[in-house]
């Protein structure tokens, strides 16, 4: 699927660029895109280094374990394949809470750490496990309580009520997250059936 999309983007871009005479712009875009990607990754280094350090302290102090224990019912329903006391649970929870508070730059490091923990449980190291897909589904639909960035932008455009969209955003994000969980569970069931056959 990803292979197809990637190829699709490039081939279609090439054809359209020829038809519309945008070949030069396309060449420019290639290097512009590459540059943006590296810039993003370098920006990630600082937050990753800091938050992973912080999370290690929390892990060593047994905090992640406690957090995981507290919210075990919800998370073990979402991630049935992860053992109850596995450190992945703590990271998944930290990732979810950071997302909810709109702390994007704290959510990513914890999400990545959770992925690494899930990878340890994964039997095929190059294929995504069911738990990994669930974690991804939760993050792509991002359960947000406070859309911080968008409120800041609304303020910069002198909105009279920058926060009036918080309510609509919460409802929309709940619907998309519930959809993500449902579709994810559905695919999991489908997969289990095909394995049994």
């Amino acid at each position: 699927m990803v292979n197809f999309i990637w190829l699709f983007f490039i081939v279609v871009s090439f054809i359209v660029a020829i038809l519309q005479g945008n070949i030069e712009q396309m060449t420019e875009a290639v290097f512009e895109g590459a540059k943006t990607a590296v810039t993003i990754c370098f920006g990630l280094i600082s937050v990753l280094v800091f938050w992973l350090g912080m999370m290690r302290i929390a892990e060593d102090a047994g905090l992640l374990h406690k957090l995981a224990k507290l919210l075990r019912p919800i998370v073990s329903w979402l991630f049935p394949s992860v053992p109850k006391d596995h450190p992945a649970m703590g990271y998944i929870l930290s990732n979810m809470s950071a997302n909810m508070l709109g702390l994007g730059n704290a959510a990513t490091p914890m999400g990545l750490k959770a992925m690494q923990e899930l990878q340890k449980l994964n039997q095929h190291s190059q294929t995504a496990s069911a738990a990994m897909c669930t974690l991804l589904a939760l993050n792509t639909s991002s359960i947000t309580v406070i859309p911080t960035t968008i409120i800041a932008i609304r303020m910069s455009f002198e909105s009279l009520q920058p926060a009036e969209i918080v309510g609509t955003t919460i409802i929309a994000t709940c619907i998309s997250t519930m959809t993500a969980i449902t579709v994810d569970k559905w695919y999991q069931m489908k997969e289990m059936k095909s394995v049994r056959r």
Partner: protein, 177 residues
């Protein structure tokens, strides 16, 4: 409600930064050594993501620069306009899952033209705030652990983006129109 949650958002990070080491010290954890130990993983993780993100962003940036994205948006406009979706917010449905910076730029542009408190401005804000950039999240999260076969993960993300967009437009109609 908003005030409470904003306050929590502002205080969350400082409290976490003080709270975690304090609690750990109480539990007799060598806090600084622990920090450095964990922080070491950060660098490697960020570097591992680079090839994945370069590949993805190059493709997306080509798609936009070549004019393919505009064509695509023009092509589906006639299908959705009769449904009552303002044509102007439509590109957002396509941009949102593909490029975070691109959709943010487009949202800003809409607010600039129509104003943040216009109906279009509110829909755009809701769409922008309610989901994340699926393709970016997928690339970064799976890239960091070297997953190549992503199975159904992309489909789940895109389906929930689509439902989220429809929900955002519908709710804005109910609340603001």
């Amino acid at each position: 409600m908003y005030a409470i949650v904003t306050t929590i958002s502002i205080w969350a990070i400082p409290i976490i930064i003080v709270g975690i080491p304090l609690y750990a010290a109480y539990k007799k954890v060598p806090v600084y050594e622990s920090f450095v130990d964990g922080a070491q993983d950060g660098f490697g993780t960020a570097i591992k993501i680079i090839p994945h993100l370069v590949g993805m962003l190059v493709a997306i940036s080509c798609f936009r620069a070549s004019g393919a994205l505009d064509l695509f948006i023009e092509a589906i406009k006639p299908i959705v306009t009769p449904l009552g979706v303002p044509g102007e917010v439509l590109p957002l449905a396509i941009l949102r899952p593909i490029t975070g910076a691109g959709s943010l730029a487009y949202t800003s542009e809409l607010m600039n033209v129509f104003g943040p408190d216009s109906f279009i401005g509110r829909i755009a804000s809701t769409v922008q705030g309610s989901t994340d950039t699926t393709l970016y999240v997928l690339t970064v999260y799976f890239g960091a652990v070297g997953i190549r076969k992503t199975k159904y993960a992309l489909k789940v993300g895109l389906i929930s983006d689509f439902v989220g967009f429809v929900a955002a437009v519908t709710i804005c109609y109910l609340v603001f129109a």
